[in-house]
């Protein structure tokens, strides 16, 4: 479009320039033609005067002839001078000395009518008059166009004769036109109908012809002076100016096109840049990680919203803030300053995170994890540091809580283990003690039935056997007191919802589950009643069973799932029960092992004490419930126990 416009503009310009040039040429040509015409006319008039002067000296013949020769010698355009009488009879004639006599081969008389006409005009007007030109063939094969001028000789108001001068038209053109005018031109006399009479100038051939035409109006004869000019007319670059304009226009167009393309590219780049910026901004704003940039002097140059939220300062409060930063706890400023100095010295590599403490605006301290990376600008020089900051206070708190809960459960577990050991010990010791006591009593019974004759012996024997029984009973009481001491908390029964029990052990179970890659599922209907139990001990049972279940699922278990479930169990008239079950999909339990499963100090684990399941059973039975296990289809084991509803 633009190109078309420019091209058409250019064409118009070119055309206009051509036209202008042509008109210039034409004007000059016209002017030159006019000049030439006036030159010729002036020359002819001058000649006429010279001829007039010749007439005045016409009193005696010889001087005329002499004078006429002189005139002919001075005026090359004149071919012949004749002096004629009033009857047009030639009295004298002189031919030009420059060439052979013009009328040598031609009968001068043929031209008599033209001469007569011119002379009659001259006589009438008493002034020179010109005849029509005539073609006179010459001896050299060429011809000359001859025009006569007739001047009347007037003496005392009477025409006494005529002076006739013959002009060769081409000689007029040669002698009376300045050579400057002739340059690259052809000047010719033509008749009104265009017939060329005489020509002077170069025979140029050019693409274009300019013609200047001027009427040469002489008394008695009218001719047309025609000036032809050939131009290698108008070229594509007709002149320097056009070429310059053209070049500049082209340069302009090129520049415009390039500018447009550049503009478009720049716009595209700007658009891309804006997109990239928006993307980056969205990314920074969506981060939960705090970002902070500092220059090499430690001055903050950038913070993202997450960082502001973290420390509680507005970004404008932080930007441009130098060390010590407002979020540094006052008591740590010295240490941080040193660390910063060390980092600036380049001695601190911290691709791995660095733990630190920051202060919120309200003075609250919180732990953070900082990752530092050098900021490199486009020139490759380091301009500062970019830090990613993670708020780990929440994580810390959770860890702390989980550790506390773990410690509590572990303490309970230790206590429970001690209790279980005491319980086992008492059971194991009570058995032989019961046997001793039974034997003693039986022996006493027999002794009495026997009725020994020796009363004294019978007395001492029976008292000894009684003491055996008493001592056994005493040992039993000691064991019982130890046991009671350890199991004092047995009575701590309370109503707890099954969900609470599961929720309390879930943190620890999940912790281990994550470590072992086990998914834990909990099935606990919301409408279950509460159970009456010692909650810490029951939590121990759940924890033990869950841990056993997870450990039973070894590496080749396809999908490790541990299910903790609670449901209503079969109830009888006196009490209602809830059944808790822990299901794994592990390797299951061999019959051989199953037999000894609840035996104290029996374990399949390298570091186990063999008290876990025993303890579980004790706890469950203390609550009046039952702990049992069955195989789970397709694989694994279900441990379930019952607890009374409250």
């Amino acid at each position: 479009m633009l190109v078309t416009l420019i091209l058409s503009m250019f064409s118009v310009l070119l055309w206009l320039a051509g036209r202008y040039e042509a008109s210039q040429v034409q004007t000059r040509l016209d002017r030159d033609a006019s000049d030439a015409t006036s030159d010729i006319r002036a020359a002819l008039t001058r000649n006429a005067q010279t001829l007039q002067a010749l007439q005045f000296a016409a009193a005696d013949a010889p001087p005329w002839r002499q004078q006429a020769s002189t005139v002919l010698r001075d005026h090359r355009e004149l071919m012949r001078l004749e002096w004629r009488d009033s009857q047009l009879k030639t009295i004298q004639s002189v031919d030009t000395p420059y060439r052979a006599p013009v009328f040598k081969n031609f009968d001068r008389g043929v031209l008599q009518p033209e001469v007569a006409q011119a002379c009659s005009i001259a006589k009438r007007q008493s002034s020179p008059a010109y005849s029509n030109s005539s073609y006179i063939p010459q001896s050299d094969g060429m011809g000359l166009e001859i025009m006569d001028v007739c001047l009347p000789v007037i003496n005392d108001g009477q025409v006494t004769g005529y002076t006739l001068a013959s002009y060769a038209l081409n000689e007029i053109l040669i002698n009376q036109i300045s050579p400057a005018l002739l340059r690259s031109r052809e000047i010719s006399f033509t008749e009104a109908d265009g017939t060329r009479l005489a020509v002077n100038g170069m025979q140029h051939r050019g693409s274009r012809l300019f013609t200047g035409v001027q009427l040469l109006d002489l008394p008695g004869h009218t001719m047309v002076l025609r000036v032809d000019s050939w131009r290698a007319a108008p070229d594509v670059f007709p002149n320097v100016l056009t070429a310059l304009v053209m070049a500049m226009a082209m340069a302009l167009v090129t520049v415009l096109i390039m500018l447009a393309r550049d503009m478009r590219r720049r716009q595209q780049v700007e658009l891309d840049l804006a997109d990239a910026l928006a993307f980056r901004k969205a990314m920074e704003d969506s981060l939960v990680t705090g970002l902070r940039a500092r220059d090499n002097q430690g001055m903050i140059t950038y913070v993202n919203p997450a960082f502001c939220e973290m420390v509680g300062f507005e970004s404008k409060e932080l930007l441009g803030h130098s060390m010590p930063a407002p979020y540094w706890p006052p008591e740590m400023i010295d240490e941080y300053g040193k660390r910063q100095a060390l980092r600036l010295a380049g001695n601190l590599s911290s691709r791995e995170g660095m733990e630190s403490v920051f202060m919120r605006k309200n003075g609250e301290r919180f732990a953070v994890l900082i990752f530092e990376a050098p900021l490199i600008n486009a020139a490759g020089a380091q301009t500062g540091w970019m830090s990613a900051i993670l708020d780990i206070s929440e994580q810390r708190r959770v860890e702390e809580m989980s550790r506390a809960s773990q410690e509590r459960l572990q303490a309970t577990a230790r206590l429970a283990t001690v209790g279980e050991m005491a319980s086992l010990l008492s059971h194991e010791l009570n058995q032989p003690l019961a046997a001793i006591s039974s034997y003693a009593t039986g022996s006493l019974n027999l002794l009495q039935d026997l009725g020994l004759h020796d009363k004294h012996l019978a007395q001492s024997l029976s008292s000894a056997i009684e003491r055996i029984a008493q001592q056994a009973e005493r040992a039993g009481k000691v064991i019982k007191s130890v046991h009671d001491f350890v199991r004092r908390r047995d009575q701590a029964r309370e109503s707890v919802s099954p969900k609470t029990l599961l929720d309390n052990v879930m943190p620890l179970v999940s912790l281990q589950a994550r470590k072992l890659g086990v998914r834990v599922e909990v099935q606990c209907p919301a409408d279950l009643p509460q159970v009456l139990c010692d909650r810490t001990m029951v939590e121990q049972v759940l924890l033990n069973l869950a841990r056993n279940g997870m450990q039973a699922m070894n590496e080749d278990t396809p999908r490790k799932v541990l299910t903790l479930a609670v449901r209503r169990a079969a109830s009888n008239a006196t009490s209602r029960w809830l059944e808790f079950s822990v299901t794994d999909v592990g390797s299951g339990i061999d019959a051989q092992i199953a037999e000894k499963l609840f035996t104290p100090f029996f374990t399949t684990k390298s570091e186990g004490m063999g008290l876990g399941l025993s303890l579980c059973r004790t706890v469950v039975e203390q609550h009046g419930g039952l702990l049992s296990h069955t195989a789970h289809t397709p694989r694994g084991t279900v441990f379930s126990f019952t607890l009374p509803q409250s």
């Binding site: 059971h427 058995q431 001793i436 006591s437 039974s438 022996s443 019974n445 009973e473 039975e621």
Partner: protein, 212 residues
């Protein structure tokens, strides 16, 4: 104590020492006993019954350890409840300290008693004897009830009608009117009812029927 003469005490405990000591103690009090080292074994013994070593006709008592490998004492106790054997076979639990709450609960559910190890042995034997007595009484009651049922089943329709009216205390004349038979026929029926029910008077018959 006469009812305990042909009684039998069952001991179920996994500890051989305790089993033997208890058997020895019971023998010193002239009580025969039989020992089992697990609840499962006792269950299979029960399943072999009723006609071999022990029948419900014989008074019995079960000394049961709460905690044993395999089938626990408590589980066995549940089975006995299901079989409705608790009356003919009273259960005394032997417990350690740890199992006392369990044992208490069991007593609430029908166990005869529990005894904490180590036990005051003669007190235990006394409780065993009481349990055997209860067993004997229950069995006697069962026996007489069974006899009564048998006797009743031997009565004819007419005799049963006569008996019902006799137990209500109606004289023969009214019975004859109600049943629309002769007094003589009533007297014959009445004599036959007395004979079949092994009673001598109408009062005795009424007592017998009321207990039912």
């Amino acid at each position: 104590m006469q009812p305990t003469q042909d009684a039998l005490v069952f001991i179920v405990d996994d500890d051989a020492g305790v089993r033997e000591a208890l058997a020895w103690l019971l023998r010193s009090r002239r009580l025969p006993s039989e020992s089992f080292d697990s609840a499962d074994e006792f269950v299979s013994f029960l399943n072999r019954n009723p006609n071999t070593a022990w029948t419900p006709n014989q008074p019995g008592c079960l000394l049961l350890d709460v905690r044993m490998p395999g089938l626990s004492g408590l589980a066995l106790f549940e089975q006995l409840i299901e079989r409705q054997l608790l009356d003919v076979l009273p259960v005394i639990f032997l417990t350690g300290h740890a199992d006392v709450p369990t044992a208490v609960d069991a007593v609430k559910r029908g166990a005869f008693d529990f005894c904490e190890k180590p036990f005051s042995d003669n007190a235990l034997v006394d409780r065993i004897e009481q349990a055997l007595l209860r067993s004997a009484q229950t069995q006697a009651a069962l026996k007489s009830k069974k006899t009564l049922q048998q006797n009743l089943s031997e009565l004819t329709e007419r005799e049963r009608d006569v008996m019902r009216l006799v137990v209500e205390g109606l004289p023969n004349k009214l019975i004859a009117d109600q049943l629309d038979i002769s007094v003589r026929t009533v007297e014959v029926h009445r004599a036959r009812v007395f004979d079949k029910m092994a009673v001598k008077s109408a009062v005795e018959l009424a007592n017998l029927m009321r207990r039912d």
